[in-house]
Symmetry: C2
Subunit: 222 residues, 2 copies
């Protein structure tokens, strides 16, 4: 299990980006958000990128018809707003705090570029992270195109197990902060279907689901 949250490709993003450690960025770099607070709106100018230092952030946009598109749900140590680095001048989605309190390390674009210049390895790993985001999106797209809901859920669980699972004997434990609605949004289905599937997997003895953790008995069975 790669600890890809804190450490990305051997570069500790958190340490570099998290302001508490860096005197010169100490002011104004620590913001408390309440549940439901909007961190940025579409059409806000893309001046910063952010790292979640506490809580849970949801990146969403809305279709004409007002349906929600969940692009990502991010926890501690994860980065968002990174499209600003690709010449985006206005945000095209919402970033919403969805726990209380949610805390962020914002990093202004010029500061970011400065950091990237100073630390080439860091710069590279930021671009690499963008590359991974693209691939993740492509995988999601592919799944939606060709896989049925059950397969998508299982793949998603495997991914979680790989990214943040803890091995414990023959099981893998994944601590999570998702609701079943969150799962549904992320794999492109409805909440009811997720409920049904989790219970099916439970029945089959493959997983053990609670609101806080999922125990997977044999990732290969998914």
């Amino acid at each position: 299990m790669s600890n890809s949250i804190w450490c990305f490709e051997n570069v500790n993003l958190f340490q570099i980006l998290c302001p508490h450690k860096l005197k010169q960025y100490q002011k104004d770099h620590f913001e408390g958000f309440k549940k439901g607070d909007v961190i940025y709106f579409p059409d806000d100018s893309s001046k910063s990128i952010f790292m979640v230092s506490k809580g849970k952030v949801k990146i969403v946009s809305y279709s004409q018809e007002g349906e929600e598109i969940v692009k990502a749900i991010l926890g501690k140590g994860e980065i968002f707003g990174e499209k600003a680095l690709l010449g985006e001048d206005k945000r095209d989605d919402y970033a919403l705090a969805c726990t209380e309190p949610t805390e962020l390390c914002p990093m202004k674009l010029p500061d970011m570029y400065e950091l990237m210049r100073q630390n080439e390895k860091f710069g590279l790993s930021i671009y690499k992270l963008i590359g991974f985001r693209i691939k993740k999106m492509e995988r999601r797209f592919e799944a939606l195109l060709h896989k049925d809901v059950k397969t998508r859920l299982c793949d998603f669980l495997k991914e979680m197990a790989d990214e943040k699972g803890i091995e414990s004997g023959s099981e893998v434990i994944v601590n999570h902060f998702f609701t079943q609605k969150d799962f549904a949004d992320l794999i492109g289905t409805k909440r009811e279907t997720v409920t049904r599937l989790f219970n099916e997997l439970k029945q089959d003895g493959i997983i053990d689901y609670t609101r806080k953790e999922i125990r997977i008995r044999g990732v290969e069975n998914l």
Copy 2:
């Protein structure tokens, strides 16, 4: 109608990337591919990015089950392989020539970085292009999630009209090189459904479809 193919954000990518104009890159920069030729395979190392100078290139990958995922179909002036700039070391998809002859302007990564250093505006516009690719993928994803097939097809036609349509009186003419199977792959449906829908739109007098061009009577009707 923006001529976004040749000129991207006021930077003429073609002129910069196309080798014929640049003495120092004149060798080896002009490759002829036959229909079906593979330009790169997954796991090839990502050493170059390419611009199509003639023909049609398809970027695809395959799921476990062997189903095709069409990520893009590119024509003259369009760029692919750009994930190499994001620290990708191995390709994760196929690039296939699908016309004969297909010609490319390859650009080795170091040369590319050199060019980007020399011409900052160019460098920026390359990253911007990547940003646009991400947004395009996100739009496709959203469409798949929330829109029915007919809407997806209409949106796709609108996009084509916008990107490469020629206004002619009250109509917009879009010259294209897609088969109905291509359309199906790109909007995430089956060929038969595309056929049905094109004929439906024809019946309703909204479009006029031939293998070479589509005439749209009133893009707003789509």
